[in-house]
């Protein structure tokens, strides 16, 4: 809930409110927000007013409810096409999807959580917005563990502090200690497994996408079901996945220094 740590300054508070509105699935009334937030009435009111005035929120005059504004959609368009690995990785995901015939995930780290930025479905065509932008836990997903494993100490610490360690399945690594041991194994192995840790019957093989400097940029995974395949079979594809991750990393980096001018 409100355990949002320290919201620095007015901007932090405003963004906090934004998150609050986002977390409800539907338009919210002022009083709903008021009862949830730690901020006093007048403060919250002005915050909402500012955000609305800025187009980050929409106030429906009929119902008096707030919803996220369209300006966010515009910003996100830019965010997706510029900040994330998605646009660069797109052709590679297609390639990987074609070769494996399995579900592909491309994820990045967002405040200790896994954020899926792109995806290919085994069968159906992609439904972008509907899928990308989703978040998931880091400690019990392939992509999550792959990224955690290569995070520098302080960042890892920060991320660990945000894990819930909820036990989704009997296989879930539901403690800090177990997870740390696993991360060590992942570093050794070079890729992460998901052994039905998040969802029964779902397994995956994930590799990190690392910059030349060793910084974690994201992770890439191939997901399947125990009904269709085994960890061993998935593991056979690990070199190929790693290879594609390396290509994505290389292209992402070279994209950074196009015209140093």
């Amino acid at each position: 809930m409100g355990a949002e740590g320290h919201a620095d300054g007015t901007v932090g508070k405003a963004l906090d409110v934004l998150d609050m509105v986002a977390s409800h699935g539907r338009p919210v009334r002022f009083s709903d927000l008021l009862s949830q937030s730690a901020y006093p009435k007048a403060t919250l009111y002005r915050l909402l007013q500012t955000l609305t005035h800025q187009g980050m929120l929409t106030l429906d005059p009929d119902t008096g409810t707030y919803a996220l504004g369209v300006r966010l959609v515009r910003l996100a368009h830019a965010a997706w096409s510029q900040s994330s690995l998605a646009p660069i990785a797109r052709p590679y995901l297609d390639e990987l999807a074609a070769k494996t015939g399995e579900t592909i995930h491309l994820a990045q780290m967002d405040l200790g959580q896994v954020l899926y930025v792109d995806k290919r479905n085994a069968a159906k065509p992609v439904e972008m917005f509907a899928q990308a932008g989703k978040v998931g836990p880091a400690y019990c997903t392939g992509v999550g563990k792959a990224m955690l494993a290569w995070l520098p100490p302080e960042a890892l610490e920060a991320a660990l502090a945000r894990q819930s360690f909820h036990r989704f399945t009997p296989q879930t690594l539901a403690s800090r200690e177990e997870l740390l041991k696993e991360l060590e194994a992942i570093r050794q192995r070079g890729h992460a497994w998901d052994r039905e840790e998040h969802e029964a019957g779902i397994i995956c093989c994930a590799v990190p996408i690392l910059s030349r400097g060793g910084r974690v940029m994201g992770a890439l995974s191939v997901t399947s079901t125990t009904a269709r395949t085994t960890l061993e079979e998935l593991g056979a594809q690990a070199p190929m996945i790693k290879d594609i991750a390396a290509k994505i990393a290389a292209e992402a980096e070279s994209w950074r220094f196009p015209e140093q001018v």
Copy 2:
């Protein structure tokens, strides 16, 4: 450029900076932003720091460049699925695309500009993030004019003030007066034309999506080329488009009061 009107408060400035980063297609360095922004060095610096700390921006430690952060992608996911008409309209867009075989646009108003929130391409399947989130001018597009025509006076005024009235083609209505006359005609007619006003050879028929109270929620358009069809043929479909717009509006509204509890 900096003609951003009045950025109220710190929050406004922060969002302003966010837009600035977004407007560059690529990661930007501090000095680039500095030269562009009206804010003094230290102010801009702290703003960037705050935004980075909040996950709205990412600072690449290797290159010292800022890019939009992943938190935006997450927020946008929520924004798209909650605030916009897109999720509701989706099946209707499919229907309209199937019936007409033409390109379909669903747009909303964003600070005087047209924001495309969903789209169906004539031939290819949709590329969501790559297309949705784009913005365009209001005064010379079908959807733009359709929305302007039903805006209440003050909102119209605010929107008009933000139009550039650049003459894209000989047909572009490049003045406030011409546009106002056209808007009147649109209200009479019930739908807006785009007579190659934005791009030569591209025509479209657009209708507003209005709430029961008459509030503009968005607009819907069918686009084609002069090579393939004529305004008259497009106009023949206007009733159907209007019908679908009405359905979207109805569903969007009923969605608002699901469980009044």
